[in-house]
């Protein structure tokens, strides 16, 4: 494999490492629609369920997620509903650290609305809990509801339910548009509040994702149930022709199921196996990348397997598939022995891969498939 290729797929690892360091439990970047929002919520719900969190905290996390996602959906495209460029795609991140769930959203806003938005946020942040309630009522009675049905009611709700300040930041895109980042935290032990939050990491990450034209990214723990929710986010994406989308879906299933079945955990974390998956688009081709931990002891065997499959094509590849299909000695709940061959056949290209050593027993496996 060319040096350059390895460097490119190693990029997945860098991204993953960065996210792990920052405890980015879950990240989504792309277009936000009702269907996608539902899938994101189900996916986060699945992750929360397996975290063993108290129902009170879970409930608060949900309601804030919903407000936050609705905010992005409503405001992601100024003036009309057509997404004008990939850079307008919103971002949604939920992290689990510092004894709190940290929720951040990012979406495009018109520069002309920034001042008003800032005033609103500052007012909300200056108010105590009871005053927030009164403010909420006042806005309702004023009838000053904006065209998009907002008027900041969602923001007030978020502030009330989180019990924390709403942190925010803007980043200018051009003369007309800026990104609006909004962050809040739900403390696990009620009354410990946050006073300062650094949004730079997420801003940088968002920039990388935009630069690489990543149309969909997921980082987090993955089990079969989560996989199903994640798949429905791709089904709702307005990408490519029907056959391309189907191909993306098929390849995605195999890549993600590889993580669920063969992935390893680095620590004794709860839930599914940690992994990263993203799709980027360039020159009418799609790159699907996955990354997960595996046992260092299987690295050699796995590379040989992929090299072998990469080395054959056409009829030979087809014959090898049939041979494996009928090999019923490999037929367990974990293994059918067909995944890698199937990926090679569906993509029509060689599979790119790399390994990075993590510690004595664990390596990180990056896989990239181009269609």
């Amino acid at each position: 494999m060319a040096e350059q290729d390895i460097e490119k797929i190693g990029y997945g690892f860098t991204l993953f490492e960065g996210m792990q360091k920052d405890n980015l439990g879950y990240i989504y970047r792309g277009l936000f629609t009702q269907n996608i929002t539902d899938s994101i919520i189900s996916l986060a719900e699945n992750n929360l369920e397996s975290s063993g969190e108290s129902s009170k905290v879970k409930k608060r996390v949900f309601s804030i997620m919903v407000e936050c996602l609705q905010n992005v959906t409503r405001h992601q495209t100024p003036q009309n509903t057509i997404c004008e460029g990939p850079y307008q795609a919103g971002i949604f991140v939920i992290q689990n650290h510092n004894e709190a769930y940290q929720i951040t959203s990012g979406n495009v806003v018109e520069n002309s609305t920034i001042t008003q938005l800032q005033e609103m946020l500052n007012t909300i942040n200056s108010l105590e809990k009871d005053d927030l309630k009164a403010y909420y009522k006042q806005i309702l009675e004023d009838g000053s509801i904006s065209e998009k049905g907002g008027a900041g009611l969602g923001l007030i709700e978020m502030a009330r339910k989180s019990g924390n300040k709403l942190f925010y930041d803007f980043k200018t895109l051009d003369e007309e548009l800026s990104y609006f980042y909004l962050h809040t935290a739900i403390s696990k032990n009620s009354e410990s509040a946050f006073n300062e939050i650094d949004l730079n990491n997420i801003k940088n990450l968002h920039e990388i994702i935009n630069r690489e034209n990543i149309i969909l990214i997921y980082n987090g723990s993955l089990n079969q149930e989560g996989l199903i929710h994640l798949l429905s986010t791709i089904e709702s994406q307005p990408i490519g022709a029907v056959d391309v989308k189907k191909k993306l879906f098929n390849i995605m299933v195999e890549m993600l199921q590889n993580i669920v079945k063969h992935g390893e955990k680095k620590d004794d974390e709860l839930g599914g196996n940690p992994g990263i998956f993203f799709i980027s688009e360039s020159n009418n081709s799609y790159k699907l990348s996955s990354g997960n931990y595996i046992k260092k002891s299987i690295v050699k065997e796995l590379s040989e397997k992929i090299d072998y499959v990469n080395g054959i094509e056409g009829e030979n590849l087809d014959m090898f598939y049939t041979q494996r299909l009928l090999n019923f000695d490999i037929d367990s709940s974990k293994e059918a022995g067909l995944g890698i061959i199937d990926l090679r056949m569906k993509s029509g290209n060689k599979l790119l891969y790399s390994f990075s050593e993590v510690n004595d027993t664990i390596s990180f496996f990056s896989l990239q498939i181009i269609i």
Binding site: D243, E254, T322, L325, L326, F328, A336, L338
Partner: protein
């Protein structure tokens, strides 16, 4: 023999094996994590069915929009079992695919080449 019915979910197919109604059909999609475990009761039922075969012709329909590789192997096993059954009673396998779904059509073609049984690959009328 009593019918065997599994309702579809987001990750598993609808399966209807109903001799009384002459319906034998696996449809929707199949991507369970443990395909081996999911299809185990299907084999159990088919083995029992093989001991109590009806006189009527059997049409066994596959109408899947997607299946994962773990399922591919289970389908191969089902088809091989149906091939055996076809030695004792008239049986036809019908493999349906949606228009333009080349992958699903080639899968049908691949399976048909492996078997010595009546096997018809049909495009679904929209």
């Amino acid at each position: 023999m009593e019918a065997f019915i599994i309702e579809k979910t987001e990750e598993t197919p609808e399966i209807i094996l109903n001799p009384a109604e002459h319906i034998f059909k696996i449809s929707h999609r199949s991507l369970p994590e443990n395909a081996n475990g999911f299809y185990a009761p299907v084999f159990e039922w088919l083995e029992e069915f093989r001991q109590n075969l009806p006189d009527d012709d059997i049409q066994f329909v596959f109408e899947l929009e997607y299946f994962n590789t773990a399922t591919a192997k289970q389908i191969a096993k089902i088809l091989l079992l149906l091939e055996k059954i076809s030695h004792e009673v008239s049986l036809e396998i019908i493999w349906k695919y949606r228009k333009e779904d080349v992958d699903m059509m080639s899968s049908g073609l691949r399976y048909s080449k492996l078997l010595d049984v009546e096997f018809s690959i049909q495009e679904i009328e929209e």
